[in-house]
Symmetry: C2
Subunit: 278 residues, 2 copies
Amino acid sequence: MKIFRDIVEMQRWSMEQRISGATIGLVPTMGYLHKGHLSLIEEARVDCDLIIVSIFVNPTQFGPNEDYGKYPRDKEGDIEMCEKAGVAAVFIPDVDTMYSHDASVCVIENSLSQGLCGQSRPTHFGGVCTVVAKLFNIMQPNVAVFGQKDYQQVAVIRRMVQDLNFAVEIRVAPIVREHDGLAVSSRNMYLSNDERQQALSINSALNLAHESFFSGQDSAVEIKNLVIRQLHEHCMDVDYVEIINGFDLNPVETVQMGDVVVVAAFCGKTRLIDNCIL
Amino acid sequence: MKIFRDIVEMQRWSMEQRISGATIGLVPTMGYLHKGHLSLIEEARVDCDLIIVSIFVNPTQFGPNEDYGKYPRDKEGDIEMCEKAGVAAVFIPDVDTMYSHDASVCVIENSLSQGLCGQSRPTHFGGVCTVVAKLFNIMQPNVAVFGQKDYQQVAVIRRMVQDLNFAVEIRVAPIVREHDGLAVSSRNMYLSNDERQQALSINSALNLAHESFFSGQDSAVEIKNLVIRQLHEHCMDVDYVEIINGFDLNPVETVQMGDVVVVAAFCGKTRLIDNCIL
């Protein structure tokens, strides 16, 4: 497995692979890899000749009071996992490599990124779009795989690909859950044992929403209240609960199949997100 | 010569050329081609296997009270000129092809684009960056050629390429002038005969600045005053006259070799720009 820390070397290698006829699947990550990331790698493997995993905790997508500094990192463990997963190359640059001191260009999405997570994290999706645009230009993948857990992120990135005409196919892998239903996330490691139990209420609340809808309830308000009640019962601090159209992310009043229940909630200081496509 | 109006077809063709080992030179234009554009094509020809010219009057780089509607267009003449110049492909999309109704992503440069033209045209460089990013993703060129006349534009695009890691080499072709010294521009066609005479003062003012500097004057204020006086004598309405460092575009006080005298001035309603590297 190749390990690249330099942009030009990574870019040159990728271009050589493309010109030799290989198809490249990119899995962009912030590292601290878990079985959610492995499922993205599996998704890329389906029809790509080789897989590149990028490992970069991107400072520009964290707000000033967020967890950039303490975000978990394990470069050696990550590299080992990639090697075992049959990844062709890992791109693991420094912050100074990715952002020069005079960097002044960013990619902004002005519509889908405004609500939901964008409400409490106003600079988040600008940081995401900018770094993903950079990664696309560096790795020049045919396919990039993202996780459905970050539902809004996927919608924003799809829009960026459409609007900036990136020749990259965006693929989405389903949410991977722990045996007890908690959506797998690098941030789960912040949770104490008690918080870990509380956090299960997110999945159980989403399950309630699912059951309610498929039992005939189609009022978004009613279903949202069900979810919020369940979260409050487990002392979760709700950031948002919304039922949205899966394409434009606008809240719906009457719920239809394909709409998405999206949740962000604090469990102690840890902000968790999850969602469920109805 | 191939003519493409569709993004996907253009993109597929370009990728095929790249994978076959050809190097692509892109000349992005707003059409109404003149000998300035031809010099860009010649510059691309030096070491590219094939040249693509894009022809697109980009609405997003015009301000609300600017000349988007009346900007000169001559698609048939342009295509004929490209054919004669040995261009391999012309990309000539509609506005609706380039911008979908729900487009919401833009590329923004926050430093180099703030002064000079960015002062009186605050949305201009965002529009330029966004459309150039799109064109790079569609055509995937090895080289893109721009004209030195748009000095600030070149600096902003270079920064975009650096910050977003586009695998594109930016090349700059010198300013092409009419026999009497006026910098060639599609907007020159707006000028009446009298205005055409007045407009010559821009080049003569730049020549004065050049002579003054190489006669030992190194005060930016003095050289700027010389330029402004010359323009005012010919009834030009000055937008800005500045002497800048060619890299960060910051104004200098003491002028050094390599600094750039940049001018924007109105001749009647027509805004003209020009510059001179000392």
